[in-house]
Each structure stands twice: as structure tokens, then as C-alpha cells.
């Protein structure tokens, strides 16, 4: 049995599945990163993903046009983000509380609308929703292992990597990105230079809304082609964890998100074993918690180690002086 699992992991197909499964973590994580750096942590990524996933499915089913579904999904996610921004930035509501409220509303709201539209509270399987196309990269797709890994993904997966690069350039190379980081680091100073803190944070929250929406759409229009209740399953929060584990940088966030994706993929592989499925499904979440714990312990250990080394050096110096 274990052999089968190991064989499964050390295969091109597994690597490809890691990329596929990481996509709905990378995209919202990038969104989380942007809003975090602007000083307005977006705790509502989860809810935004859910709303976008739902809207995309419904609109693509009714219009029978996959792109209209995608656009509607993005707009719906932006709308939710705009609500959050309005509550927090303009009405002065607490960001965390408003975010939690939005998440709860998204969970209940999508189930309610799903029931109204389909009569089903579980999934949208009765709706004929569309899926985004899969891209086979010419030439590369014919290279044996590499082709399997790199080719044949849906557009969201490619988008996730391209956007990481974009976000990186945006944040560090454009004036707007520098403004965004400035606002997050010292809003008072930014304001004193004529930067509009509120507007920049609004922009950041909207961008995070778009990115989280892409993550949600990836779930319901690529990974699966239907909407299921609570189908985001905490990915919005894991994405937020990836932002911090990744040291609040785009590439670090990408790597952290892929790490979480790896554990997710691993739990899929282990599904074939005779272990209770609840245990297996727990793996990605437990891995997230573990990763964050290890990360903080390491940081503390490093500080202690530095302190110890310094003290030894100091003792040696005083001893040398004594001689």
C-alpha cells in the first residue's frame, strides 16, 4: 500500500497535481499579500472566494458563456471586497470583525441562493455550468516528464505564476506599489506627502478581491465544474497563513502556498490507504498549523542562538582582558 503512495508522490503527475492544487491558494494569497502590505489585512478572502465561485457557476450556466461567468465572478468578488472596504475605511468598522461578518454571510448567502436557484442545498450539479479551457503548451507538452508537469493546466494555474511576477513588479518597481507599501508601513508619513491613505487601501482591498475571486473561480470552474457548499474549505485562511510564512513577499508567498498545496495533494494520494478519510483530510490544515509553529520557533531559536553566541564572545573578551 505505502509503496503505491510513494510511487504516486514521485511522479510527474503528482507534481502537476501539486501545481493544480496550489493554484487556489496562490491567487488569494497574492491578494492577501497586497492588502496586508497596504495595512488592511483582508480576512475576508475566504468569503470573497466563495461568492466568486458561486457567481461564476451561476452566470456561466445561465449565459452558457464561460467568460461571462468568469467576469461576473470577478465583479462579485470585487463587490464583496468593496463592502469590506466601505465598512472599514469609510464607516470605521473594525477590519477583523467586518471580515468575519462577510465570511459568515458568504457561507450562508451562497447556500441560500443555491437552494433558491436549484432546490439543492449541497451542490449546483443540476446547473450546466462551464469550465475554463485547459492549455496545452505546444512543444513543451511533448517533452516527457516536463510536459506532464508544465502543460495541460487550466488558465488559472498559469495565471497564478504570471501574477506572482506581476505583483512583484507592481509592489517593488512601480510608484503605485511603493505608495501602497508606504501607506502600510507609515500611514501618517504617506499622508503627509499627499498620498491618499484611504484610497490606496481601497485599491489594495479591491485588488485582493480580484485575486481571491480568481482563486474561487478556479475551484468551481476549473478544478471542479460545479459549486459545492463551503467548497473553499478554509483556503482563504490558509492563503493568509502563506502570506506570513512567506515573509510578506510575493515569491515567498508563492513558495509557502505551494508548500501547503503539496500537503493538500499528499492527502489526496493517501486517500487510497485504509486510514479513516477524516484523518487524511486533516493533513493540509495540520500541516499549516505545524508550518506556522515551526516558523515561529525557528525565529525565536535564531534570536536565542544569536544571544548565546554574543554572550560567549563577550565572556571570551572579558577573560582576555583579565589575562
Amino acid at each position: 500500500m505505502w509503496e503505491l503512495v510513494l510511487k504516486g508522490i514521485f511522479s510527474a503527475l503528482f507534481v502537476a497535481s501539486v501545481l493544480r492544487i496550489s493554484t487556489p491558494l496562490i491567487l488569494p494569497a497574492l491578494g492577501g499579500l497586497i492588502s496586508e502590505l497596504s495595512g488592511a489585512t483582508n480576512i475576508a478572502l475566504e468569503g470573497i472566494m466563495l461568492v466568486a465561485a458561486f457567481t461564476g457557476v451561476v452566470i456561466s450556466a445561465f449565459t452558457q458563456n464561460v467568460w461571462l461567468g468568469v467576469i461576473a465572478g470577478i465583479l462579485s468578488g470585487m463587490l464583496v471586497a468593496a463592502f469590506l472596504a466601505y465598512f472599514h475605511l469609510y464607516l470605521g468598522a473594525d477590519l477583523i470583525l467586518s471580515g468575519i461578518a462577510i465570511n459568515i454571510m458568504a457561507t450562508g448567502g451562497t447556500i441560500f441562493l443555491l437552494y433558491v436557484l436549484t432546490g439543492d442545498k449541497g451542490s449546483s450539479s443540476t446547473l450546466a455550468s462551464k469550465a475554463v479551457p485547459v492549455i496545452n503548451i505546444p512543444l513543451i507538452k511533448d517533452i516527457p516528464v516536463v510536459g506532464t508537469i508544465l502543460s495541460g493546466h487550466n488558465i488559472f494555474t498559469y495565471l497564478a505564476f504570471i501574477l506572482t511576477w506581476f505583483v512583484s513588479i507592481y509592489l517593488y518597481r512601480t510608484p503605485q506599489g511603493v505608495h501602497l507599501r508606504a501607506v502600510g508601513e507609515n500611514p501618517e508619513a504617506a499622508a503627509s506627502l499627499g498620498l491618499n491613505v484611504r484610497r490606496i487601501r481601497l485599491g489594495a482591498l479591491l485588488m485582493s478581491g480580484v485575486l481571491a475571486s480568481l482563486g474561487g473561480l478556479n475551484l468551481s470552474m476549473a478544478y471542479l465544474t460545479l459549486f459545492q457548499r463551503e467548497m473553499t474549505a478554509g483556503r482563504g485562511f490558509i492563503a493568509l497563513a502563506a502570506v506570513f510564512l512567506g515573509g510578506r513577499t510575493p515569491w515567498g508567498t508563492l513558495i509557502a502556498a505551494i508548500l501547503f498545496g503539496f500537503f493538500d495533494a499528499l492527502s489526496n494520494q493517501l486517500g487510497s490507504l485504509a486510514i479513516p478519510s477524516q484523518w487524511v483530510q486533516m493533513i493540509p490544515y495540520a500541516a499549516t498549523v505545524l508550518a506556522l509553529v515551526v516558523y515561529s520557533i525557528r525565529q525565536r531559536a535564531q534570536a536565542v542562538e544569536r544571544a548565546r553566541r554574543f554572550q560567549e564572545k563577550h565572556l571570551a573578551e572579558t577573560r582576555a582582558l583579565g589575562d
Binding site: 513588479i169 518597481r173 512601480t174 510608484p175 511603493v178 505608495h179 507599501r181 508606504a182 508601513e185 507609515n186 501618517e188 508619513a189 504617506a190 503627509s192 506627502l193 499627499g194 498620498l195 535564531q302 534570536a303 544569536r306 544571544a307 554574543f310 554572550q311 563577550h314 572579558t318 582582558l321
Partner: protein, 514 residues
């Protein structure tokens, strides 16, 4: 000379009813260095914030070049060439010096930030006005003096003709202050106008052409600097004669109260903040700690008072170890603490004066009766201290938050002095306190010393540590780099070299005096 800026009959009343400016008329001539002095709360900063568009006057007219203007934001002011350098720097720590200079008005190439151009701009301005900076260093890695020059470059980049500097020397060493003054003179030579807010009268004499004195929201007068004397200016500021120097009778020091040996502290981020600090404080002396802020003084005080854990070393008060004990245990060992940040560590702002006066003693009789606190005792205790320390308040039951800065500090003094400490640790005791209260606080510190308390005084105000201390040490990068057994005989310049790390004494040289 032509009048450049005129502020006419400015009145500023804040929504809470505080009158910050009460009919102020103030004018600045082109090309002059104009010092604006006054106690804290005299309304100088408010007046300048109005000129800079950060605050709007309740009434009154501002004229620039003879034309009346209405500023809605600092951007309007900067458009007309008025720039202000705040006391707390408006900078982004993780960005470079050059990026901070151009922030909000960046040079771009094809939509991207043009870093090369930013560096070039910074270097050119830096050369033109003699403000030395390292354009590619991040702000978090440069010292306070450079950060201040960055702040000046920022407003010059935005085209400032009138530079308002709000207490620019408060954070500088004497040498850095001299550098700054040199730059200010260069700026003026090139046609700029400088308004210099300060409360250090010696600097007024040294740098300014004219001086305006404010008190209680009003202008007491404007005069050419060469006609002003320090004593005269002080009298205008306070409204009575002020004793700038505290007289201090000679007094033989007593037994060793605090002994610190090889104290080290490494911050959570792994920075080595204290690198083996050793010294003693004796009964009946004031040991002053001088140094540029950020060289470990804050951490030293917080480690000694139980607010931070020490990483290594020893500290004893009359033989009792105090390191890594709770603040209460440290206090019970006979330590009193006037903290640097009185709003966070010194007071519970929403609690009443009476409550703040018992936080270090409520658990002991007579305040504690069984499981309860004896409120009658608390009120009496509060009433006594309010009278003794002249705390201006309608009563002991008002929240501390409603008091002025000076009166808040008096609440802390009342609590700490009345605990009859063996050791008094005072960190920046007169920061942000007006001249009158400063005088009172200094007298009280000397009074404690005369009564035989050991006093450890940490202050960024060099003149203050020099005049109050019996002995003085200088801290630089987490170490004591110099000790002056007779503070009165040291010169500011000499101490300045130690503060900058240019000079240092060897451990052998210092040993006998620590």
C-alpha cells in the same frame, strides 16, 4: 528685507475648547532665520501647523508674498514653497533614502520607478545644500542625524522656499547640531528662509537672526536676536524669573545602592542592545547617562525596572538581585521609576488620579483592608499628594487623561517620590514638559539626592544631564564608552565625541570610576 509670510490675528480653538492660538500675529522676512520659542503648550507647533496647512485657523489671515492664502492641506502649502520638518520623522523605514526623498513624486521611466534618477536627484540636492546622505541606504539603517537631513531634502525636492524645523536639535548630538546649523546657514545663503522652533535658548542665540517668543497661545514679542539675552527670553517665556541652573550643594556620596555588572540584553529580533554594561550608583549622588537616543538607554532602564528580561549579567539593589524579577518585586526592593513614555508605562490614562497614585502600593495597608481597598484612605492619600506636588486638577477623582502633560508628569513624580525609594531611576523626566514644570522636576531630583537617594538619570538633553549629575557616563552602541567622575568639569564638546563614538575610554581607564 521683504516680508515673505505674514500671519495676522490667528486664532485657533480646538473642538474641545482649548485655545491654542489667541490672536497671534507673526511675520517672517525673506532670507532670515527666525527662531520661534516658547514653553510646551505655548502654541508654537500649532501656529506652524496652520502655516503648513495641517491645521486650519478658527479665524485670521495668512499672507504669502502679500497675497492672502487659504490652505486646505500641506500640499497647498508646499505649492507655495512652505515645507515643514516634523519632530517625528515622516519616513518609511524599509525604503531607501532616495526612495523616501522622492516618495509621492517619483521620477518614472515607462511607468516604472526610475531608481537611478531618484538617486541622482538626491545626490544633487545633497551636494547643493551640504546635507550629506547615503541615497541607497534604507532609512532603518541610518542614524537620526541622517534621517533628519533626509527629511529636509524631502521638502527641498518639493520646492520649499520656507523651511519650518520643529525642534530639530532635540535628537541630535552637539556635533550633529553644529552640522545642522552649518547646513541651515548654507540654505539661507542660497535664498531659503528658515523658521526654527526650539526651547533651547542657547541655540536661539547661536543660529537665529530674529526671535519670537510665545506664551499661552499669544506672542510676547519679536526682537532681533542680538538684542536678546537668555535670561530675558526665559522671563518672556515663563512670565517670571527662571532659575535655569539648579544649585546643588556638595554632598559626600554614601553606600553603594545599585550595582550593575556585565549587563547584556538582546532584543527579540536578535539585536545586541546592551553589550556588557557595568556601573554603580551610590546613595546621595545623581549618576547621569548621556548618549544619543537609541544607544541602549531605554532598554537599560527597562531591564533594571523589570519591564524587560535581561539576557545576562547581574544587578543588585542593596544586595537584592533585581534582574528578571517582576516590576513589583523590583519596586519592593526600593526602586522608583519615572518612565520615558509616561502615557504607556507611567499612567493608566482612563483611571483617576487617586487610583494612579496607589498602583504601586494598593496591595499593602493602609490601602488594603482584607479583600478590599479602603477608598477613604485612597482619597486622603490622593488629596495629600495633589497638594504637595501642586497637581492642577479639579479633584482626585478625574481621569488622568484630562490633565495637561506637565500635570500628568507631576502625578508620576508624586507617586514615585512618595514611595521613599532607595534608588530612583528617571528616564527623560522633563521631556515634553514646560519650563516651569521642568524647573520643578529638576529641583525635586536634586532634593531626592540631597536626602540620600541614589538617582540614575537618563536624558537625551545633554545640558540637563550635565547640570544635574554628580557623575556622568556616556552610552554608545550598548556600552559605556566614557565616564566623567565630575560631571561639572566636562565640556559638552568632549562628551559629544563620546556620544558619537569618536572617542572612547578603555575599560581600565573607566574601572575606578564606575
Amino acid at each position: 528685507m521683504a516680508v515673505l509670510v505674514e500671519m495676522d490675528q490667528i486664532i485657533k480653538i480646538y473642538p474641545n475648547g482649548v485655545v491654542a492660538n489667541d490672536g497671534v500675529t507673526f511675520s517672517v522676512e525673506r532670507g532670515e532665520i527666525h527662531a520661534l520659542v516658547g514653553e510646551n503648550g505655548a502654541g508654537k507647533t500649532t501656529l506652524m501647523k496652520i502655516l503648513y496647512g495641517e491645521e486650519r485657523p478658527t479665524s485670521g489671515v495668512i499672507r504669502v508674498n502679500g497675497r492672502a492664502v487659504h490652505f486646505h492641506s500641506p500640499q497647498d502649502a508646499i505649492q507655495l514653497g512652505i515645507g515643514m520638518v516634523h519632530q517625528n520623522f515622516m519616513q518609511i523605514p524599509s525604503l531607501t533614502v532616495a526612495e523616501n526623498v522622492v516618495l509621492g513624486k517619483e521620477p518614472t521611466r515607462r511607468g516604472l520607478l526610475d531608481r537611478k534618477a531618484a538617486i541622482q536627484i538626491t545626490e544633487e540636492l545633497s551636494r547643493q545644500y551640504g546635507l550629506k546622505v547615503d541615497p541607497e541606504a534604507t532609512i532603518e539603517s541610518v542614524n537620526v542625524g541622517m534621517r533628519q537631513r533626509v527629511e529636509i531634502l524631502k521638502i527641498l525636492y518639493r520646492g520649499a522656499e520656507i523651511l519650518i524645523l520643529d525642534e530639530p536639535t532635540a535628537v541630535l548630538t552637539p556635533q550633529e547640531t553644529m552640522e545642522l546649523f552649518k547646513s541651515i546657514r548654507t540654505l539661507v545663503k542660497q535664498g531659503k528662509t528658515v523658521i526654527f522652533i526650539t526651547h533651547k535658548l542657547r541655540e536661539v542665540k547661536e543660529i537665529s537672526d530674529r526671535v519670537t517668543v510665545m506664551r499661552g497661545g499669544k506672542v510676547m514679542g519679536t526682537l532681533p536676536t542680538h538684542e536678546a539675552t537668555r535670561e530675558g527670553l526665559a522671563r518672556m517665556m515663563v512670565g517670571r524669573d527662571v532659575f535655569l541652573e539648579v544649585s546643588k550643594p556638595l554632598r559626600a556620596r554614601g553606600e553603594k545602592v545599585l550595582e550593575v555588572r556585565d549587563l547584556t540584553y538582546v532584543s527579540e529580533t536578535g539585536r545586541q542592545v546592551l553589550r556588557g554594561v557595568s556601573f554603580s550608583v551610590y546613595a546621595g549622588e545623581i549618576l547621569g547617562v548621556a548618549g544619543v537616543e537609541g544607544n541602549g538607554q531605554t532598554e537599560l532602564v527597562e531591564v533594571l525596572t523589570g519591564l524587560r528580561p535581561a539576557t545576562g549579567g547581574e544587578a543588585r539593589v542593596l544586595g537584592t538581585p533585581i534582574l528578571n524579577r517582576s516590576p513589583r518585586a523590583v519596586r519592593l526592593a526600593g526602586v522608583a521609576h519615572i518612565p520615558e513614555d509616561r502615557l504607556t508605562n507611567g499612567l493608566a490614562l482612563t483611571a483617576t488620579i487617586n487610583e494612579n497614585l496607589i498602583v504601586d502600593r494598593y496591595f499593602r495597608p493602609p490601602f488594603r483592608r482584607g479583600w478590599f481597598i479602603d477608598n477613604k484612605e485612597v482619597r486622603q492619600h490622593g488629596q495629600q499628594l495633589i497638594e504637595r506636588f501642586d497637581i492642577r486638577t479639579p479633584g482626585g477623582e478625574v481621569p488622568v487623561a484630562s490633565l495637561s502633560g506637565g500635570n500628568m508628569q507631576k502625578v508620576i513624580l508624586a507617586r514615585e517620590f512618595s514611595s521613599q525609594p532607595q534608588l530612583l531611576i528617571a528616564a527623560q523626566p522633563t521631556r515634553g514638559v514646560d519650563v516651569g514644570a521642568t524647573e520643578f522636576i529638576r529641583e525635586q531630583l536634586v532634593e531626592q539626592r540631597n536626602r540620600g537617594t541614589a538617582v540614575l538619570l537618563v536624558s537625551a538633553d545633554l545640558a540637563e544631564v550635565m547640570s544635574l549629575s554628580d557623575r556622568l557616563v556616556v552610552m554608545y552602541e550598548g556600552q559605556i564608552t566614557g565616564v566623567f567622575p565630575e560631571a561639572a568639569k566636562a565640556t559638552e564638546e568632549e562628551i559629544g565625541y563620546y556620544m558619537l563614538g569618536v572617542k572612547r575610554q578603555s575599560p581600565e581607564e573607566m574601572e575606578a570610576y564606575l
